[in-house]
Structure formats: structure tokens, C-alpha cells
Amino acid sequence: MQLFRLFLPLISAILALLCFAPTAWAFCGFYVAKADTKLYNQASQVILARDGNRTVLTMANDFQGDVKDFAVVIPVPTVLKKEQVHVAEPKIIERLDAFSAPRLVEYFDSDPCAVMEKMADMPAPLAGGRMESSANKMRRDSNLGVTVEAKFNVGEYDIVILSAKESGGLEIWLNRNGYKIPKGAKELLKPYIRSAMKFFVAKVNLDKFAESGYQLLRPLQISYESLKFMLPIRLGMINATKEQDLVVYILSPQGQAEITNYRTVKVPSDVNIPVYVKSEFGDFYKSMFQTSYTKEDKKVGFLEYAWDMSSCDPCSAEPLNNEELKQAGVFWLDNNSDRPVSPTFRSRFPSSSVFITRLHVRYTRNKFPEDLMFQATSQRESFQGRYILQHPFTGNVQCSAGRQYQRSLNQRLEKEAETLARLTNWNIQNIRQKMQIPGRKFSTSLWDNFLAWLGL
């Protein structure tokens, strides 16, 4: 009993920890095109920088229509004030993308007849197969039972923060204000309204846009305090007719992030593929991703990259400097003093560290009914989508080691062809043809197989 009494304060301490902190929520909405332009969301890129309960969310603007038609409605956790909304540097998402993209590395076989000199490796970083993006459509409109919580403009955007009591009213408000709402939006807005979320509505101020001199819309960046670490993808699915791609870059001082309500699966990596893929790496990656996606029954999120941002090996782009990290929303770098103390279990991580997780989610309405929920874990293990090209030695080989090399090379090339076929679902005959190895037997004899198996 004494132990029990001793234990009570511990329980209450833990309960106190759990019960602190206000309720709140987070993002991702639909694009609302002002005209009935048929624009669909195909790929979106989002940066989520999060430490404790504070999140800085940067949304790449992949809108590909006339800017006057651009408008977006996003559920947000709290009423955002002007100082919580920024326009980010357009380059920053490209930088993160390039840094974390799946990469191709190249090695060259050395002369097997030369003494013991093993492969001179030469990492050849290439930016990976990113899916092209396009935009979403939606229409807009105006109101009833809706409160305009804030109205301001940031950069080229006019922003309105709305709170609503019921979805019908919000729908009417949006419609009256010239936003065309897609069918079915009303039902989908309801759960967000009921969860006390606010709506971030942005459209382009054409004068400001012309003044800014930018050709494309810049990313919007919002910051908020919220217990909820999630992306609302449901709204975005209203006006999507097919699979949508979402690349989420999660930056955390802690470690790798993962999805908590869907599986997070690593993309196939560290495989040897035929050298000709060098010229069609984008196609390779797309096919490979699609094959993995189908194999996993289209209901998982894929991990493409997980790394401490202070290093990379091989680097597919220069690591981001502190200034760039700040632009990406990282707020915990050197201003620890004015950071709000978070009441959650752990903020004991080195505050100078930034760990990036790149998640690629291809989703459809039937396989992804719930919004994406995330958590940052303490896992510091690195992972990258990495594909290896191993160039055979092309010189003349006459020695016995050389003959052995030739034999094993045939095996190796065949294995590369098989790997490629398995990963991409491409026709193996085509692959073999493209590999163009002169005098190469494709169906190796049992004897060859046996020798190879023995390692000879």
C-alpha cells in the first residue's frame, strides 16, 4: 500500500502532463478556381516544420491556371493573424525537393586483371523522379452564420479567416463571395466546422501580383500552435477524379516522422539496376513507385528520405544552410529563448538539429478515408531512395580473373534486368534488349548458374 501511495504522485504528474495544452488543429484544403476551369490536384508539396506543439506549414503553390482564378480554402486550427501568415521563397520547396529526392549513384568496375583495385566509386547525384504537379479546381462563393475573423493581405494574396457555425452557411457565404464550391463540399466542411476549425481562404490580389514582378504564385506559409499534427486531405479529394500525389517534407528536431493512421513503407532502395536507366531515371522512378503503390494495395504512405539535415551521402543537392532552413519554417534553430515552453513529454532534443522526413503519399478517396495524422519519432536512422548503376569494365580481359569476371558479369546483368523488371513491372525482354550486351547469353545454363552459385 505504501508503494501504491508513493506511486500516486507519479500518476498525477503524468496525467497533468497529458492534460495540459489547448485543443487545436491543422491543415490542407481545396483549390477553388473562380471559373469552371478543369484543374485537378495531382501533386502537392507541403513542408511541415514542427517542434512541440508549434507547426509552420508551407504549401507549394502548384496552381497551373490563370492566377485570377486562384483561390484556396484550407481548414486551419486557430484564427490566424497577419503575423502568422507569410509568403515563402518559391525556391525553398525546390531546394528541399532536390535535397531529398531519390537518387541514382554510379560506380565503375575496375579492371579485374589489375591487382586488387576495387571499384572506383563516383557518386553521380541526379535529382529524382518527382511527379509533376498540377492544381486543384473548385469554385467559390459567399455567406450566413459565418464570421470573418480576420482579413488581411500578405504579399500577392488576399486572405480571409472564417469561422462558421454550420456547413450550409459557409457554403452560401463562399458562393455569395464569388467562390464556386464543388458538389459535396458541404458534407465535408461539416466535420471541420464541428471540430472548431477555422477556414483560411486565400485568393490572389492581381494588382499586388503585378507589382511583385513574380511569374508564379509564391508558397503560402502559416504558423500555429496546435496539438494536432495532421494534414486534412479529405477536402482536397472532392475535386480530384483520380489518384493524387502529395509530398510532405517533415522537419523535426527529434527524428523521423511517420504516419500514425496508415502504414509508412520505405520505397525500394539500394538496388542495382541496369546502367541504361541513367537516361530514363524519371520514368524508372515513376514506374517503380506505381508498382510499389499497387503492391501495397494503394493504402500506404511511402518514405522516400529520412536524414539528419546536417549531412547527406551521397548528396543529391547541397544541404540547406541555416537561412534556407528558416525559410522552410524551421524556427528552433537559435532562438530558443523566445520559444514557448511546450508542455509535452519531450523537448529534450538538440535544438540545433533538423531531421527531414520525405513522405510521398498517393491517395484516392476509397483507400484514404481519414485525414493524415503524423508523429515524430525518435528514430534517427537514415534512409534514402538510392539506385545503383554499376558500369561493367569495358577493357580487354585476358587473365583468369578476367574470365571469371565475365562469367559473374553475365549473372549480374541478368540479375539487374530481373530487379528492374520486378520493381517497375516493365517487360523483361525489352529491358534485356535495351541493355545491349554484345554476345551475351540471356538464358544462362544450369551449369553457369551453378558456378555462379558457388561464387566462381
Binding site: 508503494l3 500518476i11 485543443t23 466535420p191 464541428r194 500514425t260 500506404v300 481519414e370 519519432t377
Partner: protein, 279 residues
């Protein structure tokens, strides 16, 4: 001797899940961590038994229970470094010897181990999404878990927990106006089922009488629901079970029923058991 004790089935099933998980799920699982978990649990059990009992009872040291705990830890807990796993194993088993009232420990050992390293270290985490939401896993967990629960007579706990939790989730879903696939996706979570069939039902640490078990399970469901939906803690179930475990003591005081013993529930008489359960 195999499978005379219900826990042999439990060991078998948990090992099966572990193999299945490693084989079919994309887990960052290190075989050496599993070995560390097993070793640390068994060693702690031996040491604690030796400290608390006379040395001649060594041959009666219980191996099954630490093995189940270590398999549970391996299935649920992820760590970066092996000492953390060793600490989890140690905390799990030591909790059985430290936090007990009379002869009964009130924390689920694996749960205690998980919560201990989540709070005390920087490199432990739980991945609630790791099992996915596949129906065949659900079926597998319900089938195997059901078989064990049938034999230990603890169906009521799982039923009360899952019943209460799914009712709360249904009310929430209805109120928010989400479509029902959101609800089913939420409930089909393999981790939730694994927890409700294999962890919340541990007959040794949960209340003895059926009524108190039902109250206990409903409270855990309620707390899980609150932590998950209002505080957005993805690992809510573990915290809920941990926080409410001491309630067992109170409930046992109200409803007095003979304490659970593995031997009484086995189909075969206990005299065949070489590894008799002592702690």
C-alpha cells in the same frame, strides 16, 4: 509438455505475429533488439525471483511470463539503441515485483516497460500505424486472441473495451458527420486490435471479478478516447492502460473474487507443469 499451459499458445501466437510482421510489414526491426528484450526480461525475472524467494525455488522460476512480455515489447516498442530495449525489459519485469499489492501486480508488464522508456529515454517510440488496417490481420488477431481469451475466460474485458471504444468512436463520427468508412478505418487498426486482444486482457494484472473488469475496461476505453481525440496522442491506449492500471486494486477491493491463476484455467492438471508460475 508444449501447449499445456495457455501461455504456450500465447508465446506461439506472438512469435507468429513477430515473424509475420518482419516478413510482411515494413518494420525497422532489429533481431538483436528482440534478443536483448528476451534476455533482459528473463534475467530480470530470475534475479527478482532469487531476491524475493529462497534460492531453492530456482527450478520454479517462471520463463513463460517474461518471454511473453519480451515478445510484446518486441512487437510494440521501437528503439534506436539496445540499452533502451534492455531498460524496457528490466522495467517491465521489475514492475511485477515492485508494484504489487498482496501477491498481485497491477501494471501490465509490457505496458509498464513501454511507458517507462517513452518517458525516461529519448530514443524509444511506438508506431501505431505499423500494422495497417487490413481485414486479414484483424481476423488473425481476433481468431488467435479469441482462442486464448476463451481459455482464460477474459472475453468480457476485450468485449467491454472494444465495445465502449467503438461506441464512443461511432458517436463522434456521427456527430462530426464523417462517412462511415472513416470510422471503420479507425477501428480496423491492427495495433488497436492487438492491444485489445493481447494486452488489455492479461489475466494476472487486471481485476479479478467480471464486473470490475468490465468497469475497468470501459474506463480505459473512455480515457483512450479522450487522449486520442482531445489531446491527439497517437499512442493513447498505452497511456490509458498505464494510468488506470492502479484502479485494479480498488476494484478488487470492491468485488472480491479468487485471483487468477494460470494453472486453474488449463485443461490439464497442474501437476504436469514443470515451470510452475510463482510470481
Amino acid at each position: 509438455m508444449l501447449c499445456k499451459d495457455i501461455r504456450d499458445y500465447q508465446i506461439l501466437f506472438l512469435s507468429l505475429f513477430l515473424i509475420l510482421g518482419i516478413g510482411t510489414r515494413d518494420w525497422t526491426l532489429h533481431p538483436e533488439f528482440i534478443a536483448v528484450a528476451i534476455a533482459s526480461c528473463i534475467i530480470t525475472q530470475i534475479i527478482c525471483s532469487l531476491i524475493t524467494k529462497s534460492p531453492d525455488s530456482l527450478q520454479l522460476i517462471n520463463i513463460r511470463s517474461p518471454l511473453i512480455t519480451s515478445l510484446g515489447l518486441s512487437l510494440l516498442l521501437r528503439v534506436d539503441h539496445w540499452p533502451t530495449m534492455a531498460l524496457a525489459g528490466f522495467a517491465a519485469i521489475a514492475s511485477k515485483f515492485v508494484f504489487k499489492v498482496g501477491e498481485k501486480h497491477f501494471f501490465n508488464p509490457a505496458n509498464f516497460g513501454i511507458v517507462a522508456v517513452l518517458t525516461l529515454t529519448n530514443d524509444a517510440w511506438v508506431s501505431p500505424g505499423q500494422w495497417g488496417e487490413e481485414w486479414w490481420y484483424a481476423l488473425l488477431f481476433v481468431g488467435t486472441g479469441g482462442m486464448i481469451l476463451q481459455r482464460v475466460g477474459r472475453w468480457d474485458t476485450t468485449a467491454a473495451f472494444l465495445g465502449a471504444y467503438s461506441l464512443l468512436a461511432a458517436i463522434r463520427n456521427l456527430w462530426l458527420g464523417w462517412t462511415w468508412d472513416v470510422y471503420f478505418h479507425h477501428l480496423m487498426s491492427g495495433s488497436l486490435l492487438l492491444f485489445s486482444l493481447f494486452m488489455v486482457t492479461d489475466p494476472r494484472s487486471i481485476p479479478n471479478s467480471p464486473m470490475s473488469r468490465i468497469i475497468w475496461a470501459i474506463s480505459i476505453a473512455l480515457l483512450t478516447f479522450i487522449l486520442r481525440n482531445f489531446f491527439f496522442i497517437p499512442t493513447a491506449v498505452f497511456w490509458a492502460l498505464f494510468a488506470l492500471a492502479p484502479l485494479t486494486i480498488l476494484l478488487d477491493k470492491f468485488w472480491i473474487t479468487p485471483r487468477f491463476s494460470w494453472e486453474n484455467k488449463t485443461e490439464l492438471p497442474a501437476e504436469n507443469n514443470q515451470l510452475t508460475i510463482i510470481n
